[in-house]
Amino acid sequence: MTTARAIALNVEQVAVRFGGLVALSEMNFTVGEGEIVSLIGPNGAGKTTAFNVMTGFLDPAHGRVSYRGTALNGLKPHQIADLGLIRTFQRTSVFPNDTVYDNLLIGLHRQGRVGLFEAILGLPRARASERRLRERAAELVEWVGLERRAYDPAGSLSYGEQRLVGVALALAAEPSMLLLDEPVSGMNASETHTFVELIRNIRDRGVTILLVEHDMPMVMSVSDRIVVLNYGRIIAEGPPEAIRNDPDVIEAYLGQGAARA
């Protein structure tokens, strides 16, 4: 509490191996409450692996991850989601056969828990809960600007639109921290611009954000702090300005990007 921000997510000494391949080694970093942190690095640097460890999809060989003081080791993904730590995915971002609106209703699972008998008997509490969920789903559809597509199957949407549904789904789960895995890949410049506004908006609601992304201008403009991974190791960490000028980073990763900038 002596520092500017309380620590939300704490990653300590995390290592992951796939057979002989070291995907992550000795990973240490923290994310403060209300901060936007980006995790960058070349393809295969271990970014998605790190995400999978933090959200319980993968058990680390050693090391520990804790969120708001709760150790996440051994918890199942849905239990971690219950702590308010919600992620999006690079590829699989929607329930393809359901409408956008129904997607969000599924995403609102954490808000809609009523007893089985209440639901089956259609008791007032279950009906009221259902009404609230429907209102909330409509709000979320509006918030990501997909009203026109609300009743289309999510699988029929464009790639960029599906990413938006993915984010809306994550938000439906009421995260206190959001992990976004390459959210703007496949988006055009104007879609990316809108998305950056969306991320700032989410943060202003008090949600902590950890971002994995390849789009350097986007990362530089949105992040409070950047963590750079290469071959499973953290090679640099700091505010965007420092990262932009770090010689190790330029050599490992930003070479072309820095030259262009």
């Binding site: 849905h78 993915g166 789904l169």
Partner: protein, 349 residues
């Protein structure tokens, strides 16, 4: 609109015994109805969670045996020289116990197999049905084995103001089956439209995404298995008290196959699917019997199945609903389609 169709269908079914005088056909309708309830329960698992139970008849048969034994009573020896004696209880208690015991079996089978799922679930359910069949066949002291349990009493219900009514006739049993089917339909409908049902659909469509928004896989699938097994148990109990004789052949694999055919042909994942599929494949053998030689009947049965799946591959109800919706939307869609295509073109392959 949907509610109107449901009420009209229910009214049509309810009117049948008033004008149908043929007891043979009425009997066929009652057994079809019982299997339709079982098919509905299978659809809850197969259509809404994507898990195929190829031993579903086990829950049906367990319901039948539990209900029959509760109402007949039994006297068996236990290890250590003890005897377990059960005096007959009213069949309606058997009906309730059938639901509870079948549901409990669904819980254990679900808990055992949903950690791995898919093909493992199929195998565990098949083995479970086979084990239960062997128990029913060989525990002669309890089940009479191949000699069958006979003289199972009919269900007696207490009606307010009318006293007790024993449901002995086909007329009575038809309405009993119709009532249970309606309740099962309503229950499944409420369930799949609640957040439990949405959790099931989410898991079926994209499990990784579903767990990431906080859906508990084991809990959701086990719940579906319990309710599905309990409904199948209820159907089994109705069967035992209507037919009034059961033997281990009730567990035959062909009975599960019949249920699967009813669900797939009618449309898995559609509430009305098992009703439509159940009617067709429950009554088809009865309809074919007077007009064909026995060997030709089964060829015709298979032929009808192939034609349905060829013409309406997603099952009768979903395929027809889709065509109907398409025709209705066609005019409106013309203006929108070019946009949709240009947007799709942007997607990477």
């Amino acid at each position: 609109m949907r509610a109107a169709i449901t009420i009209l269908t229910l009214a049509a079914f309810a009117s049948v015994p008033l004008w149908l005088r043929d007891p043979y056909l009425l009997n066929a309708l009652i057994t079809t109805g019982i299997f339709m309830i079982a098919a509905m329960s299978l659809n809850l698992l197969l259509g809404f969670t994507g898990q195929l139970s190829l031993g579903h008849i086990a829950f049906f048969g367990i319901g039948a045996y539990v209900s029959a034994l509760t109402s007949l009573g039994f006297d068996i020896g236990l290890p250590g020289g003890f005897r377990l004696v059960h005096e007959p209880w009213p069949p309606i208690v058997g009906f309730v116990l059938a639901i509870l015991v079948a549901g409990l079996c669904g819980y254990f089978v679900g808990l055992l197999s949903f950690r791995v799922r898919g093909a493992y679930f199929v195998i565990v359910t098949i083995s479970f049905a086979e084990v239960v069949r062997l128990v029913a066949l060989n525990w002669v002291e309890l089940t009479q084995g191949p000699l069958a349990l006979t003289n199972i009493p009919s269900i007696t219900i207490g009606l307010p103001g009318l006293g007790e009514l024993t449901l002995r006739t086909k007329f009575h049993n038809y309405y009993l089956v119709l009532a249970v089917a309606a309740v099962a339909y309503l229950l499944i409908s409420r369930l799949v439209h609640s957040h439990f049902g949405r959790a099931m659909r989410g898991l079926m469509e994209n499990e990784t995404l579903a767990v990431s928004v906080g859906i508990d896989v084991t809990r959701t699938l086990t719940l579906a298995a319990v309710i599905s097994a309990a409904i199948a148990g209820a159907a089994g109990s109705l069967y035992a008290h209507y037919i009034r004789i059961i033997d281990p052949e009730v567990f035959a694999f062909i009975n599960t196959v019949t249920m699967v055919i009813m669900v797939i042909s009618g449309g898995k994942g559609s509430l009305a699917g098992p009703v439509v599929g159940g009617l067709i494949f429950g009554l088809l053998p009865v309809m074919l019997r007077p007009i064909m030689a026995p060997e030709a009947q089964w060829i015709a049965y298979g032929g009808v199945l192939i034609v349905i799946l060829f013409v309406l591959p997603r099952g009768i109800v979903p395929s027809l609903a889709q065509r109907f919706a398409k025709r209705k939307r066609k005019a409106a869609v013309v203006a929108v389609t070019p946009v949709a295509f240009s947007e799709r073109a942007k997607e990477p392959a």
